[in-house]
Each structure stands twice: as structure tokens, then as C-alpha cells.
Symmetry: C2
């Protein structure tokens, strides 16, 4: 899979258009700095005093857990605001790295476009596996469910024109990249760690996927250093001011009806002060259907539109983009790693530019 390249032409890098989609070899990446750290979390301390002679006893010992993990890369001459990427349920930061068929993911695409990029593993997932609560992990054959839930198709059939690569190796990578919780998902713990990340790095832009969507809203409420939120296919945890909850949306979703979450108006208003954009892909029903995956996402898309309208009614700047409305067809639940992910990246670049976030 590796391309042998022996030339190094920085000049060509600098002339590399943001929207170019080169086939074959890529120009070198030029990075000022990269690294990783743990951020946020809590500490348990067992009462008593630690004694080296009794080091296998817990007395006086600590457990640090519930932090997030971040891997970051900062390009030379970076834009002012870095991009912080948070994965969805069952995923890790891998979501944003190489696509299942080995193309560049948003991590590298946006590094090329001059943004500092932070990829998070949320608390109790991936490299941030150390949890303060116990859990049991049971291997469960469920990948055909996820294939269908994530709108690659209705297993074993791909949706016609699906933007998911059709080779079996790519599908195997997709299945293997899921990784379990090492402790129960806790939106408060995850958003606390995300907020601590922004305390550490300063102003930036938060990009979420799926279950991460709710974390995006909570983090932006907790921390004004979040200067914009981009959400790919959020589903749960749409937050509304007290007294303005819409009625639950019924659907054929296997997850049941979709409810909003009530929060104080003063918190909700914090979300009206930043630009927010939400993207949904294709094969979402436009009216109720018994096809449960298409109907699940119909409910999500409908709730997202109600939510954005509520944000905007309160003076905010939220927008919902249903990609087929732009003529962009075939996207799954993972538009940022689909075959047309450079086109999806271009939309994000446009959003950042239009909101003067690409300084």
C-alpha cells in the first residue's frame, strides 16, 4: 500500500490547493509538532498508607481514570483555531484516521489544509481505557446490525450508489475498528474531559460524530473556548430549554422513540453564540417507513431540524445540511470516511471560511 517517493518539493506543497483531490502519490506533510497526552479525569484513592513492603495491597494507592486521550499534530503556519475531533459510539479516534480502504481521513486531510488536528479517545475507550468503574465486556456478534444501522445498506446489500468502498478488505477494517467501552458511557464525564482539553489548548473548533453529538453540545455549554461545533449525524442528546421540549418522535428505530433533553435556558443560550452545522448523509427516509435504519435516521434528521430552528429562534446560528439536498448522494453514517470524503471535507472547509474560522 505504500507509495515509494524519492522527491521532496516543498514548493509544490505550498501550491497544493485545498480542494485538490490528487490521484496517486501525495505531497509530503510538513508538521511543526506532534504528540499525545491524557487530559481531564479523576482520581480514586484507597484509604490508608502505601507501604513498599505491602505493595500488592491497595491501601494508600491511587487509580487515575476517566480522562480523555489526545493525539495532536500542528502544521507549520497553522490556522488560529485547531480542529478537535470526537468519535461516536463503539468507535475510537481511528474513525478520523485512514479510511477503511486506506485513503486519508480527516486527520490528515485537515492537517494538509493547515489546521492543528487533535483526535480524542473519549474516557473509557481506546487509549483512554482506564476507568473508575468496573465493566464486563462480552463479545457479541453484531456487525451485520451495525452495517445496517450505519446505512451502508441493508445487510448483505449495499445501498445503490453507496459511498462505502465495496471490497471485503475495507469492510473487514470497518468491523475491526470498532472497540468496546472499558466502563459505562457517561456524557458528563466525556464532556468534562473534552472541556479540559479546550482549557489546555485554548480556543478551537469541535467536530463530533454520532453519539459524540450530545457531547459536543455539552462541551460547548461548559467551555466558551469552543468556537464552533460541526456534528456529523448526531442522534441522541438534542438539548432544549426548559419548557420547549418537542414531543418525542416515533419511528421504526430499534432504539425506540427519540426524545429531546431539557436543560436550563441559560445553558441553552450558550449554544446560540457560536456557529453550528450538522450534516446527514443519504438513505434517510423522508417520511415514516418500516425500514428501521432509514426510519431511525429520519427521526434524527427531523429532530435536528427542530433543534436548529429552536437555536435560531433564540438568536443562534445553526444549520442542518442533508447532503442529498446538495446533490451529494450515497453517504453512510460516516461521511468523513466515505469514498467522497474529500468532497465532504470541502464542505467543512467552506463552513470554516464562511464563518471566518480559518484565520
Amino acid at each position: 500500500m505504500f507509495r515509494k517517493v524519492s522527491t521532496l518539493l516543498i514548493a509544490s506543497l505550498l501550491s497544493f490547493g485545498a480542494n485538490a483531490q490528487p490521484k496517486g502519490k501525495r505531497e509530503p506533510l510538513v508538521t511543526q509538532e506532534q504528540g499525545s497526552f491524557l487530559v481531564g479525569g479523576t482520581t480514586l484513592t484507597e484509604p490508608g498508607k502505601f507501604e513498599v513492603a505491602n505493595a500488592l495491597k491497595p491501601q494508600g494507592q491511587t487509580l487515575h481514570g476517566d480522562h480523555a486521550y489526545a493525539f495532536y499534530q500542528i502544521p507549520v503556519k497553522a490556522h488560529k483555531y485547531p480542529l478537535v475531533f470526537l468519535h461516536g459510539a463503539g468507535e475510537s479516534k481511528k474513525t478520523w484516521e485512514s479510511t477503511p480502504d486506506g485513503r486519508e481521513g480527516f486527520q490528515t486531510i485537515f492537517l494538509r489544509r493547515g489546521y492543528g488536528v487533535y483526535l480524542l479517545d473519549q474516557p473509557r475507550r481506546g487509549e483512554a481505557g482506564k476507568s473508575t468503574v468496573a465493566t464486563t465486556i462480552t463479545p457479541t456478534p453484531d456487525e451485520q446490525f451495525w452495517f445496517t444501522q450505519f446505512r451502508i445498506g441493508n445487510y448483505p446489500d449495499y445501498f445503490p450508489g453507496s459511498q462505502f468502498p465495496k471490497d471485503t478488505a475495507a469492510l473487514e477494517q470497518f468491523f475491526r475498528q470498532m472497540t468496546p467501552n472499558t466502563g459505562a458511557f457517561d456524557a458528563n464525564i466525556v464532556s468534562n474531559a473534552c472541556s479540559k482539553l479546550f482549557d489546555r489548548i485554548g480556543d478551537g473548533i469541535l467536530i463530533t460524530h454520532s453519539q459524540g453529538g450530545g457531547i459536543g453540545w455539552f462541551t460547548a455549554i461548559k467551555n466558551p473556548k469552543v468556537k464552533a461545533v460541526i456534528a456529523y449525524e448526531p442522534f441522541s442528546s438534542f438539548v432544549f430549554p426548559a419548557g420547549e421540549l418537542p414531543k418525542p418522535i416515533q419511528s421504526a428505530s430499534l432504539f425506540g422513540e427519540l426524545k429531546g433533553v431539557e436543560i436550563p435556558l441559560s445553558d441553552f443560550e450558550k449554544l446560540t453564540r457560536i456557529p453550528i452545522i450538522i450534516y446527514y448523509g443519504d438513505n434517510i427516509a423522508d417520511q415514516p417507513t418500516t425500514v428501521w435504519n432509514k426510519d431511525h435516521w429520519r427521526a434524527g434528521l427531523e429532530m435536528a431540524k427542530i433543534w436548529a430552528a429552536t437555536i435560531n429562534k433564540h438568536g443562534g446560528h445553526a444549520k442542518v445540511v442533508h447532503l442529498p439536498d446538495l446533490g451529494i448522494k450515497g453517504n453512510t453514517h460516516f461521511p468523513f470516511s466515505d469514498l467522497n470524503n474529500l468532497q465532504i471535507a470541502d464542505l467543512l472547509s467552506d463552513f470554516l471560511r464562511e464563518n471566518n474560522l480559518n484565520k
Copy 2:
């Protein structure tokens, strides 16, 4: 934390001495390619037929697990052999990234020195969390034990002259970077996945830490694409030909006596065909003592010397380096992230050059 740099001079990168230890800002990293993938593993399939209408039932569904995860970066004009890094017990690929106090780890140091770098999460750890076996994870306060076991000192005291950074933030990072198994450790599964990685990437050099040491021997036995092994502080799983097992080494280690592992001579001989080097740090007893951490590693170092002598008796090329013998003092169980890790990296660079592995 980020340094602003506005100049980009590839010439200065190319003239950047391998052993330079610049203070302050670093030259930009120039990378030809980066990405990630899952490799190896197995697949469970539940009998029956998957039906979209019964998608929450396991029938006909699969679970892909027990793979490794790899994040790779290939510099421009890379040396012929990439370096593959495997972490130890309780750790992830984070081990090789930023040090606990935020300096560059071996990932970035060796990328700067022109090597392709692959960091692995072994099966059932980190981003490779999907396991084919169930497990229960119980939060256990044990960090003061690990501080001591890993020879940072005898908690709460640092060893005099310890190369571990003394600030509390670094120690917190160190504690948080440990991450649990999501399934039982299985040396055969881990070495199978490592071997599959070499099948994918071709010839390369394997660098292991601690528990990963045994995986290094098993991987090199399984796959002739492993052209050298560098092991930092291996402990268990020293392999000997049938009939040549040394007697177990008694010590005050909390893990009990240290035994070798018997393997067929034909497998052992595969380890005599490649250069192998083993490094141990400081504060290891030179004779039996009741100080259990110093004595644990005395047993490891003694066994390593017996092992290397056995390799060499069979015509191999193994060497054990006890860093204090070179006048390098204060190293913990993690020499590659200690304060003097550039000096430790220089030793590795020397080894690669001396063995013509830096082509």
C-alpha cells in the same frame, strides 16, 4: 505549549544531525505518508442467517477481534527498514509517543531520524480493543505499586538521580497512560498479529518493551521479515532450546521465581540469524537483595545474560547492555521516555548503523 514557527527549511532538516539534542523549537517533521489500520485477528460467526428484520439477534452475525492496531508514519526518503514498536503490559502505543513530561518520544525521534515508524496496540488493548473473549475490568488502585515495580523509585521516594521527571503533572500523565486489557493477554494471539503486520509491511525491525519482549522472540520466530529485535527491559518469556533450560532464578520479586520457556531447537535457531540487543536501566541489584523491585530486575537481567549467551553459543548475535555499565545512570523501566531518552535513542541509532540496518 505550541511554538510558532514561520520558516520552513528542508535543507536544515536534512542537515539535522541524528544525535543533536536541540533545546527549544524543533525543525518541522516532513512525512511522506501516515495512517492507521487493523491487522491480523480472527472472526467469530454465529450460526444461522442474518435477517434485517431480526437485526438485534446474533444469528448469522460476525465479530472480528484479536487484531492489532497500527499507526504509521513514513518520512520522505525513509531508510529501508521501518521500526515497529510494541508496548509492554498495561501500556498502549502511547508508551512511544510524547513522554510523560511532554517531550518527544521514540515515535517522533526516529521519524526525524528517517525511519518509517509503526506503533502497535496489541490485540485486546487500546484501539485494538475488540476481543473474542469476555473479560471483566475492575478498577484497582495500584499505581504506587507500579511506580515501585517500574523503578522510578520506592514510592514515594524517587531513586537518587532518577531519569524520571519529578513534577507531579508528569507522574499523573504516567499513571493515566496505563490502560487495561479488554481480554486476557495471549502471547500467541499477540505474536500472530505482529507477524501479520510484517507480512503486510515487509522487512522491518521490531522494538519491544517489557512484556512485549517475549512477543518479540515469538514474532521473529514466526516471521523472517523481522530483521532485528531491540528489547527494552524484557522480563518474562525468555525462550531456550529443549534440554537447555537454565534453572529458575529465585528473587524477592513479587512475581515469584523467573523461569525460561522451552521451545524446539529449530525455532530457537531462528533467533540466531538476526541481531538482537537488550537494554536494562539503573537501580537493578547486582546481588540478591530483599528490596523486591531491585531484585525482580536483577533476576531479569541475569536471565537475559544467560539467554544471550545461549543465543551466541548457537551462533547468534545477541547482546545485553546494562546502561550503568556505559556510565548511563538513573534509567527507569522506561528508558525510551526518560529524561535522557535522546541518549538512549542514540544507542539504538548506533546499533542500527553497526548492523547495517540504517540503509
